[in-house]
Symmetry: C2
Subunit: 324 residues, 2 copies
């Protein structure tokens, strides 16, 4: 019988899920609202019922191996979401225990969304067969998943791989985490907006972006302006690439990966972000690492990446169990 | 029969070696000069003969499992020393192949000296039983060995863990690697000397260190002056701890270790370096990591650490082979 995995991505607004086979092909999909459930017990009940319904309504002929969940502040070891600032439910949510109470699957596993994306890249995407790579997610914030010796790096507490919060600029921009100068204040969708506004303040160049308010401006608009040749927009991407490239060079000195994958809205801007990032990264690398590390776009389809990543956790975990 | 491992530490001046049992107790020791051998073939021959002599002259009653070698720029995957700036012999030295040609042991393995030190800490020292930790060697330079999921992180090319060359101060001090602002230009024995001279230049404080030339000054003298209350010496340690603590906070965001061990001359200064490093590290950490990561002195005896580390490679490798 065909084996399939269920992937669940818990986001601040919506929670999406799907049944996925080993090739990454979808058999079924579903979603529920996250934000309308301030109580996590009701949310988890609603979620489990919706997933059961999806399974029951799908055509038969497959065996569900397990459920993988990607969530902000998801802790792999504890199977819990812990104090996620972007979710309505507060404190510690015992996601894995709850799901195990409702389903009888061998594998139920949870991690944070960036780790899940890295796992998706390894099982279905461009990192197939790689043993050492880093996934960087450039979204509203900046996340990362680090793979070493073919295994996800969780660290001793399940929270490894927070490259969005390495210090890019000492005493730099105020970050949501309460500190200053974190990478994500420069290289997230919001970070590049901040860079545009800094450039608009510090230069006298003409720019179409001078007509747009801070709240209106999106990274997509900056991308489009850059492609039309807008000097400020282009400079904003160059500066973003500089900060990102320099910190990737430091990350390489930690785990020396074969490749670094960029994922998320900013990564979709293509060459306008990849070219400067690669250039500054190579420029900043210690000699022994130069011209060795590939900087690649994620090969996961953007809309499906979160569910794919979550489902990939199941295959990876199943393999670990078989090796024991 | 008692199993033993041979550890060899290749240094710029001397190469030292010993026979070590599983508890880290020495059965025998030896050494040869490194620097008098500009030709690596002659050096390797001399070394292998000296090791053979040591084995033959030791009392019988043990079985040698293998040879582990720690060396600057040692590459684990290739078994080679590659372009080591501090060794007389240039280019690529095929150490493992050479030793395999002279001895018939199951395990012959090589890595760089900081990785070997980390392995020594895991097998014989304070990291026994830890699955995630980082070893930082504060010597003439700064090296590091990173352990994740109980395995040394070598990266895709064998050169992972060069934390001495993450950028601590953008556009900072000139480094021997050709770049600027590397951690080792601030937190090595030489780095703290540079800090003292910067402080002597920028302040008007009285200091006993004003009587000592750059070439005369050692980190041990700075340590002694600090312990006598010299303000400049104390400030130099505080600054060193600041730079080190901040970069350790970034390293923690990569692999989230249970502990970080400090080893080498500067680490032996004790509280005068540990206190500020710990303080600045905690100050710089992302919330989820605060008050979790131990900062510990290495438990390896300084004089024997290099041989112990090299011999530890053998036990670790033997275990890997048995798991295959």
């Amino acid at each position: 019988m065909k084996q399939v995995a269920i992937g669940i991505d818990i986001g601040g607004t919506n929670t999406i899920f799907g049944i996925v086979d080993k090739n990454g092909d979808f058999i079924s999909r579903g979603s529920i609202k996250t934000e309308t459930h301030p109580d996590h017990t009701i949310f988890m009940s609603t979620l489990c019922e919706a997933v059961k319904k999806m399974i029951n309504e799908s055509e038969a002929g497959f065996e569900v191996v397990g459920i993988g969940v990607g969530a902000p502040n998801g802790n792999y070891y504890n199977g819990t979401i812990e104090f996620a600032p972007n979710l309505n439910f507060k404190g510690v949510v015992p996601v894995v225990d709850f799901i195990k109470g409702k389903f009888d699957f061998e594998v139920v596993v949870l991690t944070n969304d960036a780790n899940a994306a890295a796992m998706g890249e390894m099982i279905y995407g461009g990192a197939k067969g790689m043993r050492d790579f880093i996934m960087i997610t450039l979204g509203t914030g900046v996340g990362s998943g680090i793979v070493v010796n073919g295994e996800m790096v969780y660290g001793h507490d399940g929270f490894a791989g927070e490259l969005g919060h390495v210090i890019a600029v000492p005493e730099g921009r105020k970050c949501g985490c309460g500190r200053k100068g974190c990478l994500e204040t420069y290289t997230s969708a919001n970070g590049i907006k901040r860079t545009v506004f800094e450039l608009l303040a510090n230069t006298i160049e003409h720019s179409e972006l001078r007509n747009i308010s801070y709240n209106e401006l999106s990274s997509k608009m900056i991308d489009e302006a850059a492609k039309r040749g807008d000097i400020i927009a282009k400079e904003a991407f160059d500066y973003t690439g500089k900060i990102l490239g320099e910190k990737l060079a430091d990350a390489i000195a930690h785990t020396s990966p074969e490749a670094i994958f960029l994922f998320g809205g900013l990564a979709q801007a293509g060459n306008v972000i990849f070219e400067p990032t690669k250039r500054y990264m190579e420029n900043s690398l210690l000699n022994i690492y130069k011209n060795k590390v590939k900087l690649l776009p994620s090969e996961l389809p953007p809309g499906d990446a979160a569910i794919l990543g979550a489902s990939a956790l199941v295959w990876s975990e199943e393999e670990n169990i078989q090796h024991l």
